[in-house]
Each structure stands twice: as structure tokens, then as C-alpha cells.
């Protein structure tokens, strides 16, 4: 299973095994990464599963939809060029090693 590393805003990190086909959000919530709130349960509606994608990985993700782009304008922490919603990142084998940074707040 691909390994994903979440790095918190205080630099503590956690590497978890993600199931292929799950979203990065689901992988995080399954493993108790509480900084991913995911109020809407992965339906691209709430913008509370915000992550900053590591620069080495951002170009390797599938492009975001217009809906995700619009939602990112409403995230609680600052939106940056590498901001994504983790519920919209689908885990595939080639994302093994993915590094996602967690914002200070989701709400």
C-alpha cells in the first residue's frame, strides 16, 4: 500500500499506509489524523480537509476541478498555490511517498 506522510504545522509528522482508491482525506481520518476534519464526509462541500501538497508532488496530482478551486477560496487557513482538498486526492500506487502538510486550522 502507498505510504502518505502528513506533516503538522508544528512539524510533527505521521506516515500512514493508504488504501488504493481511497481519498487522502479518508486515509487520514481512518488513521486518526485529527487535523483533517472532513465535515462533509468527502463530498467536496465543506473545505475542512485542506492540505498543502509538497512542492515535489503538486504537479504529479490530477488537476483540480472548478468546484474544488472555488471551495479552496473558502478555506480557514491561508490558501496557497499548493493548496488542495484531500478528499479530492485519490490514492494510486504512483502516489507512494506523497507528502501533505496540514494547515493550522480547518475552521
Amino acid at each position: 500500500m502507498p505510504i502518505i506522510t502528513f506533516i503538522r504545522s508544528d512539524n510533527r509528522s505521521e506516515s500512514i499506509e493508504a488504501r488504493i482508491g481511497d481519498s487522502a482525506m479518508l486515509a487520514a481520518t481512518r488513521h486518526g489524523v485529527d487535523e483533517i476534519v472532513a465535515e462533509c464526509g468527502g463530498n467536496a462541500m465543506c473545505a475542512t480537509c485542506h492540505v498543502y501538497v509538497d512542492d515535489n508532488w503538486i504537479s504529479r496530482l490530477a488537476a483540480m476541478s472548478d468546484e474544488e478551486d472555488a471551495l479552496l477560496d473558502g478555506v480557514a487557513a491561508e490558501r496557497q498555490p499548493n493548496s488542495r482538498l484531500s478528499c479530492q486526492i485519490k490514492i494510486e500506487q504512483d502516489l507512494d511517498g506523497l507528502v501533505l502538510r496540514l494547515p493550522e486550522r480547518q475552521l
Binding site: 468527502g42 463530498n43 462541500m45 473558502g74 475552521l107
Partner: protein
Amino acid sequence: MVTTDRTGVGGGHAGAASGSVPSGIPGLDIDPFAIEFFENPFPAHEALREAGPVVHLDKWNVYAVARYAEVHLVLNDPLTFCSSRGVGLSDFAKEKPWRPPSLILEADPPAHTRTRAVLSRVLSPAVMKQIRDGFAAAAEAKVDELLARGSFDAVADLAEAYPLSVFPDAVGLKQEGREHLLPYAGVVFNAFGPPNQLRQTAIERSQPHQAYVQEQCQRDNLAPGGFGACIHARVDAGDIIAAEAPMLVRSLLSAGIDTTVNGIGAAIYCLARFPEEFARLRSDPSLARNAFEEAIRFESPVQTFFRTTTKDVEISGCKVDAGEKILMFLGAANRDPRRWADPDRYDITRKTSGHVGFGSGIHMCVGQLVARLEGEVMLAALARKVAAIEMSGPVKRRYNNTLRGLESLPITLRPV
């Protein structure tokens, strides 16, 4: 007619299983739209979950799912389980809808995708940031006013009064006629049910409420800057045609008030019944948002919705033909022990993500962020200003075919 339950899985709930449809799906004689059911649905929810992954309700001749996994599956496969034939028991392919169908709730992709996008943008996280302070100030003022009164009815004076003090203004509605809003929503949610007394009476009396709503949905009647005007502005942008805008405003008026009334009412009822949870909330008011979310899971103010199968389908080994209605028990799924630890406990620190109180998938409540905002700021204000919430009179339930909530909840607030 009583036949044997051929599957043999309905045991443990004597009297619940009354028959079996040909595919071996257990038939139950539970009526989830009866007054006795509304009073205490939980034993029946358990019977429905334990009878099998799919059951048949003989009284209304409809299939149903009550376990979390199957409810989630049906919600998330809109091509197989469609909404365009109505999300109540009435099948629009066979029966004329009581009102023109919703362009979003009672629509399938691709038509749904376009209208949904409009409401999603109008009610987006970015818009919530703009309205947040106003909603929070109104909640503070409401709690101050209620503390001064001391004892009051938490349904009329809080759960109804607070949303009515913020949401119609946010939509941009005129002052006059707002007394039609709750009755109109009551009709809408009763009409999803079967042709019982509740539904028939509601529709018979609906004309003045429908006339009010239709009028308020017109562009000229909506204040600039409100949600309603924002929807009409999408016509100018070319996203929708002029005739569609009033229908999408109608969706806000149908589903935007009674739902939050019952959500906030559920949260107050929980905090009044479980004072230790209110104590936890007081010690950390930042739990307010999750305390509201957990109340939505725990009480499930929207109890049920239907879908219609578009093809022959197998759900967890149970064969269902094309063209059949399937009733989803959201409230039962939200307390399914297969999904939730200690499901009958109201726990304000529970990880609630994934509950289906707002639905799931492409039709998941488009106003969920408004609901959460209202719930959060109200519970946060109570947490900061109130020392104790005490029930001070008889609790009366309100009966509706879809909505679970109270008619009356007398409480007394003690100030900090």
C-alpha cells in the same frame, strides 16, 4: 396475509417480520410514517437493521435500507438510484407531483449538475465567511434575550426564532408573509411520505403557502446581495435560464428553515437531556460545532428519503427490480452499531465525519454550511453565557412524515 420469513434472519424481533417477497428479502409490518413510530423510532430502526441489508415494508409496498453501508451505497450511486422520479414515496413516473419538481432535489445528472453548481457557489465556504459575524451576533443577542426571560419554549422561542431571525434576511425576503415559511416547509416534508393523513391534510391546506413562496421567489421581491439575488444573478452569467432561478430560490425556502429549526432543536434537546455533555461544552466552547454535528447524527432531523431504481440491481445480495422505490433510513444508519461505537450515546467529541444526517453524495444537503453555522454560533453562545439548561415542562413531539423534531420543549436557562 402473513407468510413465513424465508430468510430466517428476522428473528429476535418477534412480531416485526410478517412476510417475504419473492427474492427472499424479509417483509416487515413496520409503518415508519405512523404516530407510534414517530414517538419512539429506535426499536423499529433496530428491527429494520437486523432483519437484513434490504427489507420490504409491506404496508407501503416499498423496499428499504436501514444499515449504514447500504444507505451510504444507495446515496452514492445516483445513476442506479435516481432522484428524478421523486425522493418521496410517490413515483413521478406514475403519479403527478403535488408541485412542479425541484430542479436540484428531484433531478439527476447531467441536469442536476448545473443547478447544483449554482446553489453550491451561492452557499459556499467563502460566502459563509461573509455572513458569519452577523449570524453570531444574532445568536448572542437571542441568548441574552432568552436568559432575561429565564423560562421559555425552546422550540418556538429558540429553535424556530433564531433561524427565522437570520435566514430569511440572508435570502433577502421581504418582512411580510414570513409566517408562511414554516408551514410551507412542513408541507414539503410531509409530502415525501406515503398518502397518509399527514400528507393529505398538508397538501390540501398548502395553497396559500405555495402562493406566498412562488411570489417571493421572483427577482423583484428579493433584496440585493442576498442568496436569492445571487441565484438570479447567475442568469445574467448564463449559468441558468430566467425560469430556473425562482425554482432554485424555492429550494432554499423549502429546505433552508425547518431543517435548521429541527437541527437546533435536536441540539438543545440533547444538551438538556445530557447535562454532562453541556458541561463539557461549557468547559470548551470550541466544541460547539461538533456538538451540533453530533446532534444531527444522534437525532437525524431528516429521517428518510427515497430513491427509484433505474435498472435491475443487487444490493448486498438482495435483488431489486428496476422501477422500485427504495426508502433510506438516515436516522437508523446514523445509529448503526456496524458503523458507530456506542451509537446511542450523545458524545460531543465523537468523530462524526461520514454521518448521513445531511445525506451523502451528489445530493448531500447543499445548505449544510449554513446549518452548521447557525448551530455552531447558537451552541457557542449558550456555552459561554449559560450555566445550566433544565427541562421545565412536558416535552411534546411534532409529527411529520420526514422531519423528526419537537412541538414543545419547555426549558429554563440559568445564567453563568
